[in-house]
Symmetry: C2
């Protein structure tokens, strides 16, 4: 089963918006074993949208088209699909009422053009999820087979990422799996790891991958996620949700057993949400002092789930000395990172102190060279204070990301 993605919008071609939708959909398709061999961006032009859809249908059994379902004149995806299907658009009264009531609930006057979003090509069905005003469409193309499926299918979803995601997860993926003759349930779980290279992970899990090939009920895959570590994705098949969940649970135990505590989280966990969760569970709070990372660690911690319970705050200064002074240490005496970690904990009345100093203190963005710098990290927890150094890339963005995830990973292991 192949499914292409066509992202519609002139603003995508002009680079005003980066097409992240196709990437996300590609990841979801891969997780359920569906190949996505081409992904295309095309502008708001009927002829070119049509040619992109025709081409995609000629190569693949399914096409997900994102965008162009809105209320404005530019939004012509549904018209192009009706034309391609050779059918009319008919207004769906139930959807029209729903759109009207969504405007009414917000106390806003509805421009009449919004009702265009209730127009559905004859023969198409709408998706159950309707987080926004534009419904998604399931559009059968070609002959209907003995199972009741059309030869091909176009799924039209909005370009708004949150709306698109609900529809793809809720309707498109399950429908694709049924069409693929996949009567079993497929689900994935991602184990997030930090501290090993992809080749090292692959070597550790090589035997298990061979075993799973023979067993056939689950697969493992490695996914890079930038400097945020590597993901091990477990995908399982089974007759029921419960059976799949059991396979995932069992396989998670096997993988954790092999790779050890480099696994820091599961699925949507981030390093910061995991550390804050641990701290919250233990009834501890964390204070951070940053010169090397300029507030980046505080900004990530404060945005994460669990921040309200476990993040006590932070201080930021451009130099180690200014940082020490800010947490009440004398400006005249050279203070260590350990002392800063202890002092910031006191300043914020927190249980744990984390200090991150060194590197280029607060630097202008460098040009992405290959140089590295040394950062000193200190963690004060109870009576124990530990200090260690890490080598990180010198350019500002990667310096911050590496330092943040390295420091929090050590904290995770320390708690």
């Amino acid at each position: 089963m192949r499914c292409e993605v066509v992202a519609v919008g002139t603003e995508l071609l002009l680079g005003q918006i980066v097409d992240t939708n196709s990437s996300w959909i590609g990841e979801q398709l891969a997780a359920v074993g569906i190949d996505s061999l081409f992904q295309t961006k095309v502008g708001d032009n009927a002829g070119r949208i049509r040619s992109a859809l025709d081409l995609a249908l000629s190569r693949s059994e399914a096409v997900i088209v994102c965008g162009g379902l809105g209320p404005t004149q530019d939004d012509i995806t549904r018209d192009v699909i009706a034309d391609l299907m050779g059918v009319d658009l008919v207004r769906d009264d139930a959807i029209a009422s729903l759109i009207e009531s969504m405007f009414a609930a917000r106390g806003r006057t509805m421009p009449l053009s919004n009702l265009r979003q209730a127009d559905v090509p004859v023969g198409a069905s709408t998706m159950e999820q309707q987080p926004g005003t534009a419904p998604g469409l399931v559009c059968p193309i070609g002959e209907i087979d003995e199972r009741g499926f059309s030869a091909k299918v176009i799924y039209a979803v909005p370009g708004v990422p949150s709306e698109m995601r609900q529809m793809v997860s809720g309707t498109v993926l399950p429908d694709l799996c049924r069409r693929a003759g996949e009567t079993s349930v497929i689900a994935s779980r991602v184990l997030r790891t930090w501290g090993q290279s992809e080749s090292a992970l692959a070597e550790m899990l090589a035997d298990r991958i061979v075993e799973l090939d023979a067993l056939g009920h689950a697969t493992l895959a490695f996914l890079a996620s930038g400097v945020e570590g590597l993901k091990v994705r477990i995908t399982a098949k089974g007759a029921t949700d419960a059976e799949v969940a059991d396979v995932l649970d069992a396989e998670e135990i096997v993988v954790r057993d092999v790779v050890g505590d480099i696994v820091f989280g599961v699925d949507a966990d981030t390093m910061e949400s995991v550390v804050l969760g641990q701290l919250g569970y233990a009834g501890l709070t964390l204070a951070v002092a940053e010169s090397a990372t300029g507030g980046y660690i505080a900004a990530r911690l404060s945005a994460a789930a669990g921040a309200l319970d476990a993040f006590a705050g932070g201080v930021v200064a451009p130099t180690h000395q200014a940082l020490a002074s800010l947490v009440g240490l004398s400006r005249d005496v050279g203070s260590t990172a350990e002392e800063v970690a202890v002092a910031v904990r006191r300043s914020l009345g927190a249980a744990v102190g984390l200090a991150v100093v060194g590197g280029e203190p607060v630097a202008a963005p460098s040009t992405g060279g290959r140089d590295s710098v040394t950062i000193t990290v200190a963690i004060a927890l109870g009576d124990a204070v530990e200090e260690f150094s890490i080598q990180v890339p010198a350019d500002t963005d990667r310096l911050r990301q590496y330092t943040c995830i390295s420091a929090l990973d050590r904290l995770r292991r320390t708690i």
Copy 2:
């Protein structure tokens, strides 16, 4: 002149990497008046790369193919192009020596496979820029016309963004402009604005756009950049670089005259780099106190150009009270944002204090709803302290971005 973009890499289809290259290239092409009507992602598969290139060449005069030029077995773009051209690959000794010397300079042993990157299709030329080990290729396709140009052309550039950008700016865009018969120089300047809607900006500049249509030497376009304001792009044509620079300078004055001080910067300027530049110029330093934004403003300021001169540091706490306490105000007495702004300035020995409080103090990411919250911002500068409120979206990301840019914009106007 039409130029499509083909991004090569299975990791792009799988969503492991978001294809930002095509977006950036699309923006550059638009700026020099070249249409990019389709952009395609395709995996590391010879047949499918070939079919994507064939199709793109059938629709457009030029194709930029990004990625697949590296040293590994997966990197097959140059082989596919040679096949499409019907020619052999021949090793370029000068490039091979250059690659060897790049490894030697870094004290690393060169895997022999790296020399594949010196293979060039017969008839193709290489690009002058070689920031990495893989050279870019200019590959003529079809008959050569009386001007010496081939009917069509494929440009192959690496997928590494920094390398790709150098080659596209340095070789591809100038070559495309020559092919388009564009003997004049084309250049753009972007004015960044904050505080007006796109329709309001368009209305303000409507008359000037009509005038420019008649004059023909420059154009104006509006580009959205998320919550970071709107860009007004001036594009000018002229016989020489100097002439174009003069047109851009003159037009910048006209536009600034019309839209006023909503212009906060030019080209690569950000709100934070502009504010830090102003502060540095005036010999002032800035200290920030954040509860509402959790360190986000400090993180952005500290990463910007000018931070070393003008950013004194910051403090972060989850609540207004904890923040006040951290800067030495009594925990028992309710303190105002103004008092916090004055106190953080004193704590960090800075000339200017900025306090940002209110909203959901330090919140878990919300689900992107339409609610808004009130944030209080205070700026202490010399004897003057001003305080004001802003309404911002309630979800964490947009709350931070709106608050940051709003607060810094006010600071920019105050200094």
